[in-house]
Symmetry: C2
DNA sequence: ACAAAAGTGTTAACTCTACACCCATGC
DNA sequence: GCATGGGTGTAGAGTTAACACTTTTGT
């Protein structure tokens, strides 16, 4: 589960009490029940940590199935997921559970660091060619705030100017009309925006080799 | 397993002899052994159908885990893969096995039609932003031949002119120097090309929101 | 007035599509 | 010569990054 917290992208981990890998930090998860699919299962597992209604997005990443991935046990096949929580939420988490910046992970259990890396990469990619930003952002936000979210998730500074232009041209962003008063240092009040849609949509489907344009189908 | 055959994208299926879903057509696959991961397993399963050295690309698609996906049995969790065979190969296949155009599938077992759709979509996407064309094409080919492969895989006509330009600009294609004599109808001899690399490479990593250019880091 | 923060205008570079045109060959 | 298929030139549209500039506020 990933969230932008305090200006950095963080992942929710819990500290294992027992072997194998006691005291190491682990991604939430667990066994698959007989009457659920893996999507239902991961939501059930995450529900033990947070209110699942706080999850703004969940998607499959990949299967991790190396025979030795869980030491001292028969092989465990894991289906890894990317889960996102919007930045305005601060879920109450159990005492063995905490958020960690993805750039400074504590010792992790099993192959969970590799799973984290996969999740970061997937998130960065989808921010570029979909409207997935809605899953990181609160319902309303200033462009500066959105810039901070994108910067944290992508790992490099994003220009507020160009971010607004790209997302607006694609029709993903709309102004609410409201503004936020500036801080004590002054400055122009910032306009508030929201994402037009809260459903994942691919906005830049093919970089090249697009289908022929319709006008070339004429007589 | 997908391949462009006779001008259309086709999938290799085998006809089930026994229930459930007897006589329906099924994707190759099977159980996961204790000492292999899912990638090794799928290659082992496919080896029963073709020479695995003929596989030019294999990648995970997704997990299919709906409890009712295999009727009359405890739930079976499947990890679906996309496998590609270059068009110049014509593998000898068992008698219960045949290639079918993805646009005209016979009645398929379980959720295998959905898996096929997922594979087609993944292939089409990756042709646009990676060099995955190498996995469909023979070692050397004319631009016309490559155009036919891309058109079949994408499902719409691709311009030979622009295909050559896009792939050349990206440094994916290089001329071999050789040419192919024209057919009986005449025409200019076609130059032969090859893919520079046979390893998957992302060539168009982010549609937008690229990291800042290096020159803006100057003093 | 001045500093600070937000937002807009503008330019240059780049990429892709479409289409006109030229090239090399068989008949 | 001329039809046929292969290949190149080029113009135009569309996006994006970079940066200068304007707007709106607090002190």
């Amino acid at each position: 589960m990933l969230q932008v917290r305090d200006g950095s992208l963080q992942v929710m981990l819990w500290q294992r009490a027992r072997e194998p890998h006691a005291h190491r930090w682990s991604l939430p998860g667990g066994g698959l029940g007989d009457d659920e699919d893996v999507e239902e299962s991961i939501r059930r597992q995450l529900a033990e940590k947070v209110d699942v209604r706080q999850l703004s997005h969940v998607e499959q990443l990949a299967v991790f199935s190396h025979p030795g991935r869980v030491p001292g046990r028969p092989r465990v096949v894991a289906t890894a997921f990317l889960g996102l929580v919007p930045s305005h939420i601060d879920p109450v988490v159990p005492s063995d559970t905490a958020w960690h910046p993805v750039d400074a992970l504590p010792p992790t259990a099993f192959d969970h660091e590799a799973i984290c890396d996969r999740a970061r990469h997937r998130l960065a990619s989808k921010l570029s060619y979909t409207n997935l930003g809605f899953a990181l952002a609160p319902p309303e936000f200033t462009i500066s705030a959105l810039r901070a979210l994108y910067s944290a998730a992508l790992g490099y500074k994003v220009s507020a100017t160009n971010l607004q232009r790209v997302l607006s041209r694609r029709g993903l962003l709309e102004p609410t009309g409201a503004t936020v008063p500036p801080g004590p240092a002054g400055g122009r009040p910032a306009a508030l925006f929201r994402f037009v849609s809260g459903r994942l949509r691919v906005t830049d489907p093919f970089a090249v080799l697009r289908p022929p344009s319709t006008r070339s189908l004429g007589p």
